[in-house]
C-alpha cells in the first residue's frame, strides 16, 4: 500500500506538486493519469525515495519514507522514467546486481533471475551485454531488475512508453499477473487507452494536484460523460498534453 499525504515539491519557481494526497490499495492497479508536466514523475520519485518533498509525507506499507527510507525502498519495485542500463553488463547481471542490492544472494537469487528471464521471455538476450538493446529489450531488463526482490509494491513510470504493440501487451499481462498476486501497483501514463484497459482505479492529476479519483466508472459518472476520455478532459479542464 502506498499513500501520499499533502506532498508538496517545488523546483525553484516551478511548483511541481501542490500538496498532493492519494492512496494506492493492494491487489489493484492504480493509474496516475495526467497531461505532460502535471507532476506524475515528481510524485512517483517521492514515492520511491529519490526525491525529498518540501512538505507532506509519503508512506509505503505504512512506513514513512522520511523516517525509514531504506526500509520503505526494500518494499518497492521501481521502474523509473529513464531505464538507464549499464552497457557493459549483461541482462542477467543487471538482474543479479539489483537482487544483491535488495539483499538476495546465492542460489535463491540465481533461481529468481531464471524465473524472470523466463517470465519476460528474454532467454535470447539474458547473457548478452545490453549495449545496442532495442527499447523493448531495455524495458524487459528494467522490469526484471525492478521485480527481482519480489516487491509487495510496484511503481512504474510510463512503462509502455516507446514500446510496440506486442511488447505493450506483454507489459499489460505482467501487470495483471502482479495484481492477481495481490500486489499494490501504481503506474503513470498519459495514454488514455492504457489507463482504461488496465486500471481498477484512476488518480487524475493536473498542475500538481489531484483533480479526480475513482474507478473508471466513477469518473464517467462524476463528470457525466460517456467516454472515459471525455471524462478526463472534463476533469482536467483541458485537452492539452493528453494522448
Amino acid at each position: 500500500m502506498i499513500r501520499l499525504d499533502a506532498v508538496a515539491k517545488s523546483f525553484g519557481q516551478v511548483r511541481a506538486l501542490a500538496g498532493i494526497s492519494f492512496e494506492v490499495p493492494d491487489g489493484q492497479i492504480t493509474g496516475l493519469l495526467g497531461p505532460n508536466g502535471a507532476g506524475k514523475t515528481t510524485a512517483l520519485r517521492v514515492v520511491y525515495g529519490v526525491l525529498r518533498p518540501d512538505s507532506g509525507r509519503a508512506f509505503v506499507d505504512g512506513i514513512d519514507l522520511a523516517a525509514a527510507r531504506l526500509e520503505a525502498q526494500r518494499r518497492l519495485g521501481v521502474f523509473p522514467h529513464a531505464q538507464g542500463l549499464y552497457a557493459r553488463l549483461t541482462a542477467r547481471e543487471h538482474i543479479v546486481y539489483f537482487g544483491k542490492m535488495h539483499g538476495l544472494s546465492g542460489s535463491i537469487l540465481a533461481r529468481r533471475a531464471d524465473e524472470l528471464v523466463a517470465a519476460l521471455a528474454m532467454e535470447d538476450i539474458a547473457d548478452r551485454r545490453t549495449e545496442g538493446f532495442s527499447q523493448g529489450q531495455r524495458v524487459k531488463v528494467a522490469l526484471a531488475r525492478a521485480l527481482v526482490h519480489d516487491p509487495r509494491n510496484v511503481v512504474l513510470d510510463e512503462p509502455t512508453n516507446g514500446l510496440d504493440v506486442a511488447a505493450t501487451r506483454q507489459v499489460r499481462t505482467l501487470l495483471r499477473q502482479l495484481r492477481e498476486q495481490g500486489r499494490c501497483i501504481l503506474f503513470s501514463s498519459h495514454v488514455m487507452q492504457e489507463v482504461s484497459a488496465l486500471c481498477d482505479r484512476v488518480v487524475v492529476i493536473a498542475r500538481g494536484t489531484v483533480v479526480a479519483e475513482g474507478t473508471p466508472d466513477d469518473l464517467r459518472r462524476m463528470t457525466g460523460r460517456e467516454s472515459l476520455e471525455d471524462a478526463l478532459v472534463a476533469a482536467i479542464g483541458s485537452e492539452e498534453g493528453l494522448a
Binding site: R69, Q73, P80, A82, G84, Y86, M101
Partner: protein
C-alpha cells in the same frame, strides 16, 4: 544487509564494469609506461651530451693567436683553443661560437712595456648556452693576468700574496650525476599523474557517465545506503588508481636495470623495498585523488565537462612536485602536511637514497587522511541530497 556488504556489492560491480571498459584499461595499462620510458630516454640523452662535453672540453676561438703565443699556451691548458671565425662579432651574435677572444697586434708591445695589454672578449650575455665557455674564458684570462702580476711583483721583490687579499677557490660540483638526479626528481610528478590518470575513467563513468546513461535513478531507488554507494564508487576509482600507480612504480624499478649506474653517475634508489614503501606511502592520496575526482565528476553537467574539469584538477597537485625537481632549497617542514606535495617530497628523498623519516611520513599520511575524510564526507552529502545527481 550490512553497510559493508552493500559497499562491497557496489564496489565489485563498478570494478567488474571498469575491467570491461577498454578505455579505462588502456589508460591503466599504458600510462604507467610513459614516465619510466621518458626518464630512461632523457637519462641517455643527458649522459651522452655531458660525456661529449667532458671529452671535448670547452672550445674557445681565439683571433690573433700569433700576437700572444704565451697567453695562448696558457689558455690551452684549460680549454681547446681554435681559430676564430672571420667575423667574430657576427659569429657570436648568431650563436655559431659561444665566445671569441681577440688579441690585437699591439698586445706583445704593450705587455713588454708594462702597460695594460688589450684583450677583447666578445660575448652574448643573452645566450644561456654560451655561459660555460664565457665563464671559462674569463677565468683563464683572469688567471693568466694574476700570474703576470705575480711575476712582476717577484721581480720587484714583493711577495705576490700582498696583492691577493682573497684566495677564492672555485669548484664546480655539477656533474652528469646531479643532472640525472634532477631528471629522477620528476618521478614523484609521474606518480601523482598515475594515480589520477588511472582512476579518472572510472570516476567519470560511475558519476557523470551513469547520470548520462540515466542509470543513477534506478540505483538511487534501491535500499543501498547512499554513503555505501558513493564510497564504493570512490573505492573502485581508487583501485584503478592504485593499480596504475603500482605499475608505474614497477616501471621505474626497471630504470636502474636498463641504465647502468655508471652511465647515470650515481646509484639510484629504486629497489623493491623502496618502491613498496612508496606505494604504501601514496595510498592515502590515491584514495584522496579518487574522492576528489568523484566529487568533481558528479558535479559536472556532462561526461565531457567531467573530463575537462578532471584534467585540470589533476594538474593542481602534480605541478608542485614538478617544481620540486628544479628547486634547491630544503622545503619547510610544514609543507609535508600538504596532501600530494608531502608525499612527493618524501619520495624525492627516498629516490636519492635517504632513509624514510618517520615523522615526515606520519605528518604526510595523517594530513592526507584528514583531507580524505573531509572530502568523503562532502561526497556522501552530495549523494544523500540526490536530486542534482540525476536531474542535472
Amino acid at each position: 544487509m550490512s553497510w559493508l556488504h552493500a559497499f562491497w556489492i557496489v564496489l565489485s560491480k563498478e570494478i567488474r564494469e571498469g575491467l570491461r571498459d577498454r578505455r579505462a584499461l588502456l589508460t591503466a595499462l599504458f600510462f604507467p609506461v610513459l614516465g619510466p620510458v621518458l626518464v630512461i630516454v632523457m637519462l641517455f640523452l643527458v649522459s651522452d651530451s655531458s660525456r661529449q662535453a667532458e671529452e671535448k672540453g670547452v672550445e674557445i676561438p681565439v683571433a690573433g693567436r700569433a700576437n700572444a703565443p704565451n697567453l695562448v699556451l696558457f689558455l690551452e691548458q684549460g680549454a681547446r683553443v681554435v681559430e676564430a671565425p672571420a667575423d667574430p662579432e657576427e659569429a657570436v651574435r648568431r650563436g655559431d661560437v659561444p665566445v671569441v677572444i681577440v688579441i690585437p697586434p699591439d698586445f706583445g708591445e704593450k705587455l713588454r712595456a708594462g702597460r695594460p695589454a688589450p684583450v677583447k672578449l666578445i660575448v652574448d650575455e643573452s645566450r644561456h648556452q654560451a655561459r660555460p665557455a664565457t665563464i671559462t674564458a674569463e677565468h683563464l684570462l683572469a688567471a693568466w693576468s694574476s700570474q703576470v702580476v705575480a711575476q712582476r711583483l717577484v721581480v720587484r721583490g714583493i711577495h705576490p700574496s700582498v696583492v691577493e687579499p682573497l684566495a677564492v677557490e672555485r669548484e664546480d660540483v655539477s656533474t652528469p650525476a646531479s643532472r640525472a638526479a634532477m631528471l629522477l626528481a620528476t618521478i614523484p610528478f609521474f606518480l601523482v599523474m598515475a594515480m589520477f590518470t588511472g582512476g579518472m575513467p572510472i570516476a567519470i563513468d560511475v558519476t557523470a557517465g551513469e547520470r548520462e546513461r540515466q542509470s543513477l535513478e534506478p540505483l538511487f531507488a534501491t535500499p543501498v545506503p547512499r554513503s555505501a554507494m558513493v564510497l564504493a564508487k570512490i573505492g573502485a576509482s581508487a583501485a584503478f588508481g592504485a593499480a596504475t600507480l603500482a605499475e608505474t612504480l614497477i616501471g621505474f624499478g626497471v630504470v636502474p636495470l636498463l641504465v647502468p649506474s655508471i652511465r647515470i653517475g650515481f646509484s639510484v634508489q629504486l629497489d623493491p623495498g623502496m618502491l613498496l614503501r612508496t606505494f604504501f606511502l601514496c595510498l592515502p592520496v590515491v584514495l584522496l585523488a579518487a574522492a576528489l575526482m568523484v566529487i568533481f565528476a558528479a558535479r559536472a553537467r556532462t561526461f565531457r565537462a567531467a573530463q575537462t574539469s578532471l584534467s585540470l584538477l589533476m594538474l593542481v597537485p602534480s605541478l608542485p612536485g614538478m617544481a620540486l625537481a628544479f628547486q634547491a632549497a630544503r622545503p619547510a617542514a610544514s609543507l609535508y602536511a600538504v596532501p600530494f606535495l608531502g608525499q612527493q617530497m618524501i619520495v624525492n628523498e627516498l629516490i636519492r637514497g635517504s632513509a624514510l623519516v618517520p615523522s615526515q611520513a606520519l605528518i604526510a599520511t595523517g594530513a592526507s587522511l584528514v583531507a580524505l575524510i573531509l572530502v568523503c564526507a562532502f561526497a556522501v552529502r552530495t549523494f544523500e541530497r540526490g536530486q542534482p545527481l540525476f536531474d542535472a
